[in-house]
Symmetry: C2
């Protein structure tokens, strides 16, 4: 997807501070962090949003949550706590049309979640 910012980050055409990478997923630091730890976790395959999630790609979502668990341990927010957030569409403020999980931790998170 030539116009997708996150695909460009995956292709290393746009720089990012990478926290984790393998053949299926990439994690990098949000450039506008909302908590002491604020990572974006994305599948390398371009999927625009939950609305566009094909049935055959659901396994990658499960895998991505195993990586979220591992990342939380490495970033030492697994015991203090962390929040995972996916924004889908306008009302949620989805800023990039490539499905991404915000991983937030390192401070007490408030309720409601936005």
């Amino acid at each position: 997807m030539t116009d997708c910012l996150f695909c460009k980050i995956i292709e290393k055409k746009v720089p990012a501070k990478i926290a984790y990478e393998d053949d299926k997923v990439l994690a990098f630091h949000d450039i506008s962090p909302q908590a002491p730890t604020h990572i974006l976790l994305i599948p390398k395959k371009h999927i625009a949003s939950i609305n566009d999630l094909p049935e055959q790609d659901s396994a990658i979502i499960g895998y991505l949550h195993l990586i979220a668990k591992k990342l939380a341990q490495e970033l030492k927010i697994d015991q203090s706590g962390f929040r995972l957030v996916i924004n889908n569409g306008l009302d949620a403020g989805q800023a990039v049309s490539h499905i991404h999980w915000h991983v937030l931790g390192g401070r007490k998170l408030q309720w409601p979640p936005g």
Copy 2:
């Protein structure tokens, strides 16, 4: 899990306004809604949190996101937008130790997400 509120809801020992149910997942309305649409989506299998997600159970997480997509369509928040939130542990305010996704929509959601 005899002491788990959400397991009791699954077993119909505690009432809830159910939005969707199959053999693997259950969705019901949050009793303290933070948006016009606020659903809790849970796997029927008791998993305490992301920290406790076993590798062999990751498929259920992918499946649950396909149900989130379907639910958003049925609740007519797929086009306006919606947010999915998982709280893990103290800093995130996880209130019930049975992994659950908050599905929020029907209003403009703010940033940061808590």
